[in-house]
């Protein structure tokens, strides 16, 4: 038996190498819509690879599972990977992925205008972000200026904003994060530098745990992560609720984007339409803590201009 070991190993290696080479180009999907032979009118098939934002990943994953279960689309495979918004935009721009998931407009991440113009934006959901603090901070409402002062290190104790006598610990996101960009753009209106001694975490779960457990901590989280372990802070007296976001009263929100390179092929278009359908928007989107795009009474463009 052991005499054959080299053969087995060799075959295995080759198979692995070949498999690795073969699967590389699957992402460039061929949404073959065969309009031919009468009985089956349109049979969609193809592989969709959606890569990027970890904030959007759960929604795309869940929608992908449901999509593939629909009889009509059973020949379409949807694969979803994380990796972050930057990775998603890079890969869709380079043609490695069919869809690039992103928390921010491509304009904000890619400097090359020609590359940006190739990408087609599909906004599938809205994520609102609320400032949160540790429960013992004793503050329920912060103004824009107070938030700026806290995150830029001017105010270092909760008592200066009407709370307990407790040093403020900032739990921030890394400077490249989409959540931080949203928070800085729409809550602070300005970029802030990282303060010495502040904490940076990229995972919402870790941010939540740290804010809930560290005395005096302040951070920000998407609405889906909020619960009783945290003090959710009002922003300028406005509570971060779905209704307030939809009505345009609460400004700290951003679209979740699914970018395609040029117009999507038939299978990809079917998937994007499926995510925007009521089936997903009214159920999965709200279940997972996002806000449906259909409900938004205001619109926002890449430059941040809000229109009614």
């Amino acid at each position: 038996m052991f005499k054959k070991l080299p053969f087995i190993l060799m075959t295995l290696t080759f198979v692995l190498v070949l498999a690795a080479c073969g699967s590389k180009n699957d992402a460039g999907t061929e949404g073959a819509a065969s309009n031919g032979s009468g009985e089956t009118a349109t049979e969609l098939s193809g592989n969709i690879l959606a890569v990027g934002s970890t904030a959007l990943q759960p929604l795309v994953e869940q929608a992908g599972q449901k999509f593939m279960a629909v009889d009509e689309y059973k020949n379409v495979t949807v694969q979803v990977q994380g990796g972050g918004s930057g990775t998603g935009l890079t890969q869709v721009s380079d043609g490695q992925a069919t869809i690039g998931n992103s928390d921010v407009f491509a304009e904000e991440k890619i400097d090359d205008a020609a590359k940006v113009s190739e990408l087609k934006d599909h906004q599938v959901a809205v994520v609102a972000i609320a400032p949160v603090s540790n429960k013992d901070a004793g503050v329920q409402d912060l103004t824009k200026q107070q938030l700026i002062d806290i995150f830029s290190g001017k105010i270092t104790n909760w008592k200066d904003v009407g709370g307990a006598d407790q040093a403020i610990v900032i739990v921030n996101r890394p400077s490249s994060s989409g959540t931080r960009a949203t928070f800085e753009n729409f809550a602070l209106g300005t970029k802030v530098e990282d303060i010495q001694g502040s904490i940076q975490e990229d995972s919402s779960g870790t941010v939540k745990k740290l804010v809930a457990e560290t005395p005096g901590a302040i951070g920000y989280l998407a609405l889906s992560y909020l619960d009783d372990s945290l003090q959710v802070l009002k922003y300028e007296g406005v509570e971060a609720t779905v209704e307030n976001v939809e009505a345009g009263k609460y400004p700290v929100w951003a679209y979740e984007h699914m970018y395609t390179k040029g117009d999507p092929d038939a299978a990809t278009k079917a998937f994007l339409d499926y995510i925007l359908s009521d089936e997903i928007q009214q159920n999965d989107v709200t279940e997972l803590g996002y806000i449906p795009v259909s409900g938004m009474k205001v619109k926002r463009d890449a430059a941040g201009t809000v229109t009614q």
């Binding site: 080299p6 290696t13 970890t54 930057g86 990775t87 890079t90 990282d194 940076q200 975490e201 745990k209």
Partner: protein, 302 residues
Amino acid sequence: MNNKLKPRRPLREKHYWEEWTGRIYTSICVVFLIVVMFSIVYFVASKGLSTFFQNGVSLREFLSGKTWNPTGEPAAYGALPFITGSFITTLLAALIASPLSLCAALFMTEIVPGKGKKILQPAIELLSGIPSVVYGFIGLSVIVPLLRSMFGGAGVGIAAGCLVLSVMILPTVTSIMADALSALPKGLRESSYALGATRWQTIYRVIIPTVLPALLTGIVLGMARAFGEALAVQMVIGNAPHVPTSLLESASTLTSVITLSMGNTTMGSVHNNALWSMALVLLVMTFVFVILVRLLERRNRV
């Protein structure tokens, strides 16, 4: 002669064939490995160096600049906070882990060789099998609150990072030390005992000095592991891009800032390239560790 050879001939042919397939297979694997290794080095180097050659960030600013603000105006790419963070956590982790490992290794090989090895070795090997995210979560749920209640502040920081790291490198250091100790010729111990030395005298005066280079090899390999560890450290160290002034203050390591930002930046941007430059620094440090181990091994042989 002819009669004897004849029946063996097919067998010999078979051996011949086996010999060659084995040879070809191993050669292919070796070539494959070399190609992979060089492509990785080339990839990291070309990406990492383009920060300096294409984006015009000066090497001096990168290595000695204290401000890291890639999204600011003007952008600053000083990686010194991360480099110091990596070195401090690694050295402290080695400082904590080495004596513990040495004691564990001595316990297994010198003090209670039979039972100690049976119980302690699997236990220590088990430590190396635990995924690093679990260490990170334990650090976040146990060590960070503990430090917070003992010393105040946020609890995250270098202290938490190096405590988590020291546990993570224990198995590496211990198993290398234990191997070195058990490879020691029996005659050494016996002659020491024969001269009337006690067990502690033997350990202290004979065994440790003899295997010292091998013990150091274990420590260096542990440090190499600590230097490259990303996930667990990232969860507990705090990741503020500043040179820390105390052990309890939030700091970053090269790996933690890479894992934190790599996915959020697009390929080809200066920010992304700067992260690859940090990866290059890590790679260079790994080479240094490997060279160190080689040097120690050479000393060991003499």
